[in-house]
Amino acid sequence: MITHNLNIEKPVLSIKELSVAYEKGGKHAVDNVNADIKRNAITAIMGPSGCGKSTLLRAFNRMHDLYSNIETKGKIFLNGKDIDNISTITLRRRVGMVFQRPNPFPTMSIYDNVIAGYKLNGIRLKKQQKDDIVEESLTDVVLWNEVKDSLFKKGTFLSGGQQQRLCIARALAFQPDVILLDEPTSALDPVATSKVEDLLVKLKQKYSIVLVTHNMSQAARISDNSMFMYLGDLVEYDRTKNMFTNPKDKRTEEYLTGKFG
């Protein structure tokens, strides 16, 4: 039973009957999920460990294609277009991803990390274009003032929180439609976490954001809509305010009140 109270017009992502299994014909880690993701909003995916929230997120940019044993069924539409009909190169430029632990490329400078997507894909840019992209992306993640004098130092010299913002900048450099974040603050201290949260709220004006988190209060603080997943099922999907004040499903209520998870 899926409780949907959302009526989203022109969704940026539309998920239809999506199932993912880590073995061919095996148990579904994500089971028959249907949902629309709102444009220019933060959508949080919550749930206890192993509920399939990261698995769902990684389906949005076809990361599962990298592993031959993973089986994906169902459809996902990006701006109305089936993502299976978009090359992974184009798709991943439209749908950026930020990981749990900050992972700037260790051999690259801060500058090169931001434009890594262009560099590694062999897209040639003029010096001025590169400078503009680097400045704009780093300004977007509120890192520019902190690093503008050390752009050519290694990205790994930054603090954890700065590294994570650098990784967000790397995803923003392509001006994507969607940014996927997989527990982006779980490796950060509270101060760095709150900086990243403020940043995400600011970024939703330009981008659509999907955020996986096991931190309920984080979802409550910054998300517009929330999904609650349990054992691969999308149990409840609603406006965050509604879900936290008046959960429809008993499992959601128990999770939110700390009875499990």
Partner: protein, 293 residues
């Protein structure tokens, strides 16, 4: 507190036992390192007086010249240039073959960790490491000396050394790549970067110091090899840089000097040089490895 006071007799006994054990550990450690210290001391004491400029710029002397010099109470003329160039030449040739092949096999093992054929390749590479070097020399003799160069040659020597280097490079490549977080690789893919570019421009550069350490250790391992070269490169009194001609090497020269009573002094100086070279490479690779962590 009470317990400790009550057991003061026992704790005294314990501290004595600790001291005894510590003494034993120190004694055995000293015993272990003493051969190394003695070797270095002996090599320097016996070999240093032969090391001068001509030691590096001239080829090995003949018996007559050495005998005359000894009778006149002078140091033996000439040097080991043919050995140094031969060693560098063959090791370079071997590196050109072993490094690309070894790294590619290492990447293959890293990518297919759980596949059955990867386990087989890993086992074969471990077995290769255990093959006696003289046997590798025989194989290179059969393959190259008999069939390719039709005579003893630098190429045959290099092939024997390549087979010795391969397992070391394969293993170190695989182990180094394993240490890089999976998320770095995924970050590349998440930017839409194709597989070969993620490998070449993200993973390999990130593991460069580890790869370099493995390569240097493999090189220092084969620098002192004598047995396989005896059957393949044979040795040569002149500097040779043709891949199809017999070539000398420092360990081959040491063997030659050993067989000539007039050249005894050169054994020590050549050994000192070889040991110094290998030791330096080892220290450099240790330094690189330490920098990484």
């Amino acid at each position: 507190m009470l317990v400790i006071i009550n057991n003061s007799g026992e704790s005294n006994y314990r501290s004595k036992k600790n001291k005894l054990f510590l003494g034993l550990v120190i004694l055995l450690s000293l015993l272990t390192i003493s051969p190394v210290v003695l070797i270095i001391y002996k090599l320097i004491a016996k070999g240093i007086h032969q090391i001068n400029l001509s030691f590096f710029t001239e080829t090995a002397p003949d018996t007559l010249a050495a005998m005359t010099a000894i009778n006149n109470g002078e140091i033996i003329p000439g040097g080991i240039l043919n050995g140094i160039t031969g060693t560098l030449f063959m090791v370079t040739l071997a590196s050109f073959m072993a490094i690309p092949i070894g790294i590619m096999i290492g990447i293959f093992l890293y990518e297919n960790t759980e596949k059955k054929y990867a386990a087989i390749i890993r086992d074969i590479s471990d077995i290769m490491q255990g093959i006696p070097s003289i046997v590798l020399g025989l194989i290179a003799y059969l393959w190259i000396v008999k069939n390719v160069t039709n005579g003893f040659s630098a190429l045959a020597g290099a092939v024997a050394l390549t087979i010795m280097m391969l397992p070391l490079i394969i293993r170190s490549t695989e182990e180094t790549l394993k240490m890089i977080p999976q998320s770095i690789k995924e970050a590349g893919f998440a930017l839409g970067v194709p597989y070969h570019k993620v490998m070449l421009r993200v993973l390999i550069p990130s593991s460069l110091s580890g790869l370099l350490t493995g390569i240097l250790l493999a090189i220092s391992r084969v620098l002192g090899e004598t047995a396989p070269l005896l059957l393949t490169a044979l040795g040569s009194p002149i500097v040779n840089l043709n891949i199809d001609k017999p070539t000398s090497a420092v360990p081959l020269l040491i063997w030659d000097f050993y067989n000539d009573p007039n050249m005894v002094d050169l054994i020590w100086s050549s050994s000192l040089f070889l040991m110094g070279f290998v030791l330096t490479l080892n220290l450099i690779s240790k330094r690189i490895a330490a920098k990484r962590t």
